[in-house]
């Protein structure tokens, strides 16, 4: 227990993970970072991407879509707009979402709408992350 950090992944709809882990990594806006027991206090924003944690030899991967992370008092709290375990991801849906996002991306580029482009890019990144994590 002494060498573990309490990881909590919270989304608006549920508490996804709450357990003591050996190592957790998260996709910070300034680069991926990892946290182990007794990490110094840290507050970071996260981008769309993959986080994972290691507990007793089991690695678990989670798809995150942005949010932020607070590490303090041997406790790492990840607040994400949405988060899914690799085992929960519906690959078909993710693939469809990717196609849709690709199409939107092209449309947005053709029209040069900044907001649409940013949205399409975000959707594309989310879909890619999910497909990647689900192992496809």
């Amino acid at each position: 227990m002494a060498n573990k950090i309490l990881l909590e992944v919270v989304t608006p709809s549920r508490l996804l993970v709450s357990e003591e882990v050996e190592l957790a990594t998260a996709p910070g806006t300034d680069g991926v970072f990892g946290a182990m027991a007794n990490h110094s206090p840290l507050l970071a924003t996260l981008k769309i991407g993959e986080m994972h944690y290691l507990n007793e030899g089991n690695a678990v991967r989670i798809a995150l879509s942005g949010g932020f992370c607070d590490v303090s008092n041997n406790r790492m709290t990840v607040l994400a707009e949405s988060a899914e375990l690799s085992t929960e991801i519906d690959v078909d849906r993710a693939l469809k979402a990717k196609e849709r996002a690709e199409r939107r991306l092209q449309e947005a580029e053709a029209r040069k709408g900044d907001i649409d482009l940013a949205r399409a890019q975000a959707a594309f990144a989310r879909a890619l992350t999910r497909i990647h994590i689900a192992g496809h």
């Binding site: 909590e8 919270v10 989304t11 608006p12 709809s13 549920r14 508490l15 910070g28 806006t29 300034d30 970072f33 110094s40 206090p41 840290l42 507050l43 970071a44 924003t45 932020f68 607070d70 303090s72 008092n73 709290t77 607040l79 707009e81 949405s82």
Partner: protein, 294 residues
């Protein structure tokens, strides 16, 4: 005899109404459990969020540097009114609407302009006919409340605020206190103030606070967080209203069922009396006829 049959029909009709209201009561009870569960699920997120905000607020930030926190002279106030999409829930929506009107009139009396953003069909339907301007409306989303609904409303409101079209934003929703009590509650959400947050600070961070590392710097993090904070508050209001709506409907339907039962009891009494007097009249006829034959 015609009167007897009419009463009988009426009793049958009311019985059917009672069945419907009873069923609606049970449906509302089941939905209330779901809505309460969602509120419970959302709570950890909201609490953690406030905790982090408090942490940042404690990091010595100048609120005037952030457009979303900077207070300015108020010329136009916006009220986000969260009501339900469906009726048949007693005075729940009317209470919210009444408070909205009161608020907007009070603002006018003080020389400020008032305008609205309506979430939920009921409020929207009411205020489309009123002189107050509705700048945004989201309807048909209260049955299945999702974070992206709240984000949409939040985005719209933030844009209006940043463009200077409104100078202050209030949020009015039906706060769920318990199954019997729901209270219209108003909070200011823009400009964001950190005052309310700091009280939650003492509980978890006792140690020296200056040791936090920020990635990127606190200003940038806060810039990311502030719009999300608005969304979280709107989401919270929507979930509370959702639960309150079901609770209000349960009470209303319970009352309706009870009223039906009372009416049935009264009508049954009338029916029995009418039947008895009909029988008596018939007997009198027969007896009278028999007497005449003697």
């Amino acid at each position: 005899m015609a009167a007897l049959k009419d009463i009988k029909l009426k009793i049958v009709g009311i019985k059917k109404t009672a069945q419907i209201t009873q069923a609606m009561n049970m449906v509302a009870a089941a939905k209330l459990r779901g809505a309460q569960q969602r509120m419970e699920d959302f709570r950890p997120y909201a609490e953690k969020f406030s905790g982090v905000m408090a942490e940042l607020a404690g990091a010595g930030i100048n609120p005037d540097a952030f457009p979303l926190m900077a207070a300015r002279p108020v010329k136009k106030v916006m009220l986000i009114l969260v009501t339900s999409d469906r009726g048949l829930c007693g005075a729940f929506n009317s209470n919210l609407i009444r408070d909205t009107e009161k608020f907007l009139k009070a603002q006018q009396a003080e020389g400020r302009e008032g305008c609205l953003a309506c979430v939920g069909k009921k409020g929207n339907a009411f205020f489309t006919k009123s002189p107050f301007e509705t700048l945004h409306s989201s309807v048909g989303i209260m049955d299945n409340i999702q974070m992206f609904n709240a984000r949409q409303v939040g985005q719209e409101v933030i844009n209006l605020f940043l463009e200077g079209k409104v100078d202050e934003v209030q949020l009015l929703y039906g706060r769920f206190i318990n199954v019997a009590v729901q209270r219209p509650t108003m909070n200011r959400i823009l400009p964001i103030s950190t005052e309310g947050l700091e009280e939650g600070e003492g509980e978890k961070s006792e140690g020296p606070k200056a040791t936090y590392t920020y990635e990127p710097d606190p200003e940038e993090i806060l810039n990311n967080l502030l719009p999300m904070f608005v969304n979280v508050q709107i989401m919270h209001a929507m979930l509370e209203t959702g639960a309150s709506e079901q609770a209000a409907r349960m009470t209303a339907m319970d009352n309706a069922t009870r009223a039906c039962k009372d009416m049935i009891a009264d009508l049954t009494m009338v029916y029995n009396k009418a039947r008895q007097s009909a029988i008596t009249a018939e007997l009198m006829d027969i007896v009278g006829g028999a007497e005449a034959l003697k």
